[in-house]
């Protein structure tokens, strides 16, 4: 196609990270173009739950990033025109053994040391905030700052607001090549024509590896499948977002919290539950490396259902009306990949969020906008450098 476009910044990917980046860039007055191969939230951002969970983050930089991100959500609620269904509901992690309780206690201590308030609850204390749990449940940890959001509305809201501020969104537009001359990004070839731009943010999620190849950089992002069950809508009955301790285990590869069952291990099973604003329960989830296959499987549906009933037996009479699977852009250590790449000026990475994309989107957008426009960030993002893997 002959059309030649130009933009100050091009953001590749119309998921939550791309939308957030575009939003914060636009707030700083930048001219932004979002290039999206399909449509907004068509990848992992549209096929995940709405957990904004702080207590599940890795200690250290990851947690700090998440805590900074959490602070930004209330401002988004104010600023975005779409109802993002943000609910500061607090989050629970439930333990099903004394060993797990011990781990949760240790984590709570460590998290508190880093400034995140987390309370350990005995079985009887737990009863006060979640009256009915499975017999196996021995207690849990509660983080009042954990919250919930509608990931699709969030993505849509950010992108829409960016658009209002002048951003252009190219839908159904595939990036075919990135032209680099004199060590600097110059042009992006897309299925809709060429775009002249000296700054490109790669927020392409599981497509990041392919984008990286265009500038001969290996971006180690692999798709990790997460399956979720959706139930019929109900009156609000689940006050918090809830996860099982094994979710922490499979997420952070914490030996002490991995599931005992072989099948569950294979699926990377970890219990999560939330009730959305529309009333549906979202029950998760798995962590599987199966390439780009986003089908749901009978085994996982069965395993997720069975696992959910261990924690919340009273939901057994709910109808499951759908299942879905998202492909998380997974990095080798499960932490995001943020920052520049060596030898190619004007290319920025905002990917590899590994299932924390929704939670980390606002802060990612904010620091990326700083990085792109000022060359430096208000928060140290060096722990998330691409070069930590080498």
């Amino acid at each position: 196609m002959a059309e030649i476009m130009s933009s100050e910044v091009v953001v590749i990917g119309g998921g939550v990270i791309g939308a957030a980046t575009a939003y914060y860039l636009c707030r700083e007055g930048a001219e932004v173009m979002i290039v999206e191969a399909d449509d907004l939230a068509s990848g992992a951002s549209g096929a995940c739950d709405g957990f904004l969970s702080l207590q599940t983050k890795a200690l250290g930089a990851h947690l700090r990033l998440a805590m900074e991100s959490a602070k930004l959500f209330p401002s988004l609620v104010e600023d975005l025109e779409v109802d993002i269904e943000y609910r500061p509901c607090g989050g629970l992690i439930l333990a099903t053994s004394q060993e797990q309780m011990k781990e949760l206690r240790a984590r709570a201590k460590a998290l508190s040391a880093e400034g995140l308030e987390v309370e350990v609850l005995s079985a009887s204390e737990l009863k006060k905030i979640l009256p009915e749990v499975g017999k196996e449940v021995k207690g849990g940890s509660y983080c009042p700052l954990d919250a919930q959001v509608n990931p699709i509305s969030l993505t849509l809201g950010l992108a829409h607001k960016a658009q209002e501020m002048g951003a252009t969104i190219l839908r159904g537009c595939r990036v075919e090549n990135i032209v680099v001359t004199n060590n600097r990004v110059r042009e992006i070839h897309t299925s809709a024509g060429s775009i002249h731009s000296r700054r490109v943010v790669c927020a392409a999620g599981i497509g990041s590896n392919q984008i990286g190849k265009m500038i001969i950089v290996d971006v180690p992002v692999l798709p990790q499948r997460g399956q979720i069950l959706v139930t019929e809508p109900q009156e609000p009955v689940l006050p918090h977002i809830v996860a099982g301790a094994e979710y922490l285990g499979t997420k952070g590869n914490l030996q002490a919290l991995l599931p005992a069952e072989e099948e569950a291990m294979k699926l990377g099973l970890g219990f999560t539950a939330e009730q959305t604003k529309s009333g549906n329960f979202l029950l998760g989830s798995t962590r599987e490396f199966v390439g780009f296959d986003s089908q749901t499987t009978p085994e996982a549906m069965n395993a997720i259902a069975r696992n959910a009933l261990r924690f919340l037996p009273w939901i057994k009479d709910l109808d499951v009306i759908r299942s879905f699977a998202g492909l998380r852009p997974c990095s080798p250590d499960g932490l995001p990949i943020l920052g520049t790449v060596k030898g190619v000026k004007g290319f920025y990475l905002a990917t590899g969020h590994s299932g924390d994309g929704i939670c980390l989107a606002p802060i990612t957008g904010k620091v990326l906008s700083e990085l792109v426009l000022d060359g430096e960030t208000s928060l140290d993002i060096s722990p998330f450098s691409l070069y930590r893997f080498k």
């Binding site: 499975g134 089908q295 499987t297 009978p298 085994e299 549906m301 069975r306």
Partner: protein
Amino acid sequence: MDTGQEGRMRLPEESCTLVAVGAGPAGLCAAREAAACGVRTTVLDENDKGGGQLIKQIHRFFGSREHGAGKRGFEIALELAEDCANAGAEIRLNHRVLGFFEDGRLLVEGDFIYVLEAKAVVLATGALERSFPFPGWTLPGVMGAGAAQTLVNVHGVLPGKRAVLVGSGNVGLIVAYQLLQAGMEVVGILEVEDRVGGYEVHESRVRREGVPIYLRHRLLAVEGLEGVEAVLAKDLEKGTVKRFHADTLCLAVGMIPQAELASMRGCRMVFVRELGGFIPWHDGDMRTDRPGVYVAGDAAGVEEASIAMDEGRLAGVAALEDLGALSPNEARKRKEELKRRLNLLRGGAAGRPRAMAKERLAAGWRHR
């Protein structure tokens, strides 16, 4: 069964040679062919009776002897189910297929959930009544014409006292007639076109009972508080609006093929207007583009029950051929005979566009 906590219960697995999903005319006929040939055959259906939507058809059917023509629909349903069972197929009623995965496995809910694997799967999942939104369409008392038919003919319960029907195709005409048979008053049939859509013989039947057919009348809205109280329609000739006092509105505006399982399985889906919408692509023998997956009946394009029967038989024969249970020669012979019959059934003015669509499908179906 185990209560799940300690029970490391996995999904039970089962296998069989041929599975037909749907115990309507297509599924039963496909299964009968297979079972009669000695192949281990299972039919799954979510209803508590076999026969599909034939069970609510109390009128005598078109077709020829092979299709039970001249008999009433429910009578044909009983015979098909009996034939199928006598041939040795196992008909599992109250079994819901929840999923058909790309690896070919079916997830089924009967008394418990299980995984079913089969070398051949015939999807005969039927169709759904089409509807469209308009003001008041969600009021109780607005329903599919087939829904009203189910209520009166299967359960012997009237949906109301006075009905308006929308659509003068064969379904609209027949259902209007059947509501009258059960003792309901039919206030009128609304038709947006300038002529009746169904056969003259069906039109005549309702007209003889004094039911007016309002041509060039568009349904505007339904009024009512917690149920239908009146139906508004616009006379497109005069530009005036009529209000009909009725407590029931039946929509007879076509059917949509239901082939969601084919779509889930990864079958190529094509949009064929003449056949009601998206259907799995299939060749002249009812094979989809996925090995071992066949489709028949309304799920392969909305047509008559008699066609569903022969398509089911055709799918059964094709599956038998692919399974090696039938010699190529024998299969060819049977397929030719069935195709000859199908051609005859699609011979009239009403059938020709469908016949042509089916031919285009068999020839590969490319975008025009």
